[in-house]
Symmetry: C2
Subunit: 344 residues, 2 copies
DNA sequence: TTGAAAGCGCTAACAT
DNA sequence: ATGTTAGCGCTTTCAA
């Protein structure tokens, strides 16, 4: 008997009708203050809780936002979800969370589940394994408001919130140059994800802007993991002329690279400078502390949710063209990228 | 027009009735395979998605689990949520996430919101600021299935999943002793939270079991933060006879202590041994790597969800007495607690 | 300012 | 094995 009380009960109690009670509870204009007051009193006295299933069914609004992230275990996404959730509550929305585990099949299941739950809108950060985007096209076609964040794709005409990955990578690379490093290598991530593609381009852009030739052998293609970082170092130090700095496409990759370099007794910084991307929590506390690029996670969550709410609340407008919010990356200089040894 | 298709449409298409379609879609026994097949075909052909609002309203089951965590930004909770969510999906439940931000007011709002959404069950890790538990009593009274995880309270008769904090603390303290440390200090957390209370007791228990007197001056009361760790060191090293090891009530506190000790040029390990609690991601990668106690986060999430599902699915049974699942803590020995210097 | 009545889409009891 | 009917609890015309 947890949820027995309905508006009908309140109506009976006050000798009025469900319609009046409903209106009073949602502060409908044409209801006398006296009635409103007595209804609210009776409601809280009877411990009434509006049944959102019934309400949604009738009104067509669920006040539910579906959020798909690759994994709640990854700090970055937890942090973005934190941002999303805090603003969602302010707008009266609840967050339905779904993890894709970087897997396109689960991702699609999440979307199905959201459709079935009739969420008012969807927020997605695309799974690593997703290369075919038809499930998102389907959502788009159905007209369900959807916004990508961080892991996005521009080809489907879906709005998105990202940071400027190109610029972040550009800044990171120039930072290494400014510290006196000359041969800068890059360990990249999956190129079908725009972020990592853009970071690679930003890296190349910075080199070119400084009249340095891009050497393909100094680019190692990893897959966003500690292992990739280690493998990158493996690869680079098998070259006749290894690099003197590494820009890793995200912090875990940088961490792997640092561990491997340390095992090889290569001095960081000095002999080799390292910078990552993401500003994960651990970076500040490892030795050497990791220079990185901050992605403004909380702000990203907030912006994504605000954009989605705009879509939900004034659907017809803004439908002309794809919106894209680009946040500024923040360079965080720490020890791992300190000055290159003057030798050479 | 995103969601126009209903079972009535399918029924019309196939010259049958909504009831048959409904039954066919949920694989009701008494429906011919032929009908089932044609219904399923028509459904997927028309792109039908079951309306869960309607279904829930009628059946009384929402297949929604409400989860309240202090913050998605904290890795530990992200990880538990990961565990919860993965099993929830297997059971056909969706997770509604709410963050309390360690604040009792938000916590209560989350519960209200869950009641209104008619969730089938609730999972909560209690906020740091919560000292009055009446809102949970209210949930209990309403008969809504609820399970605490990690941050729990035993006085309300609510089932819970925790790790054995006492034992974990006991193990951590004995570990330091076994490495040759003699004067072991403890930086604790908020004592109204059972975890931190138990860890303090475990620390004292281990000392007593080894015939070592507990010195109140070697216990510093912190509040689960990097700052607390620093303050603890401040406090201890103002004593005439500082400790030679620190057991911190969680990893961030340990991290603060280590940073402060490093700044004071005190050697870890050797001069001072340090161990934390939680097995946060960064511990493996800081220098020295942090010894700690693993809390089996994923398992905790899974167990909590399984326990909740049990409550939901066979309510009357098990209602006699409070259930409590206690997971085993896992000691993780790393560098920060290596052997004490033999000097002295 | 309020009431009466219909219906959102689905499921389940009761037929047949 | 399938159809008929009622109704979950709410919101929303339309009418008074």
């Amino acid at each position: 008997m947890p949820y027995k009380i309905t508006i009908a009960d309140i109506a009976r109690e006050l000798n009025t009708t469900p319609a009046t009670v409903s209106r009073a509870l949602s502060n409908h204009p044409g209801i006398s203050d006296k009635t409103k007051k007595s209804v609210h009193e009776a409601a809280s006295q009877l411990n009434y809780k509006r049944n959102r299933m019934a309400s949604s069914l009738r009104s067509g609004k669920t006040h539910l936002i579906g959020v798909i992230i690759p994994s709640a275990e990854i700090n970055f996404f937890g942090s973005v979800v934190h941002g999303i959730e805090s603003v969602a509550n302010l707008h009266g929305y609840n967050v339905l969370l779904y993890q894709s585990n970087e897997n396109r099949e689960y991702e699609e299941k999440g979307l199905e589940s959201f459709l079935s739950a009739r969420v008012d809108g969807i927020l997605v950060s695309i799974a690593k394994d997703t290369i075919d985007y038809s499930h998102f096209r389907e959502i788009k076609k159905r007209g369900v408001p959807i916004v990508f964040f961080d892991r996005t794709n521009d080809d489907i005409g879906i709005d998105s919130v990202v940071i400027d990955d190109y610029k972040g990578a550009f800044l990171a690379t120039e930072h290494l140059l400014s510290k006196g490093y000359k041969r800068i290598a890059h360990i990249s991530g999956p190129q079908h994800l725009k972020n990592f593609y853009d970071r690679l381009r930003g890296y190349m852009g910075a080199l070119q802007a400084n009249k340095i030739k891009v050497e393909p052998s100094l680019i190692y293609h990893g897959n966003i993991s500690i292992e990739s970082g280690r493998e990158g170092v493996h690869h680079f130090w098998a070259l006749p002329d290894p690099p003197d700095a590494i820009f890793a496409t995200e912090d875990f990759t940088a961490l792997g690279a640092i561990s491997e370099l340390k095992e090889r007794k290569i001095k960081i910084p000095g002999e080799v400078g390292v910078i990552g991307f993401a500003n994960e929590l651990f970076g500040k506390h490892i030795t050497p502390s990791l220079s990185t690029v901050d992605q403004q996670t909380i702000q990203m969550g907030k912006s994504a949710l605000n954009l989605l709410v705009d879509l939900i609340e004034k659907k017809e407008i803004n439908r002309q063209r794809q919106q894209k919010i680009v946040l500024e990356p923040l360079l965080i200089g720490r020890d791992s990228s300190e000055k290159a040894a003057k030798i050479k």
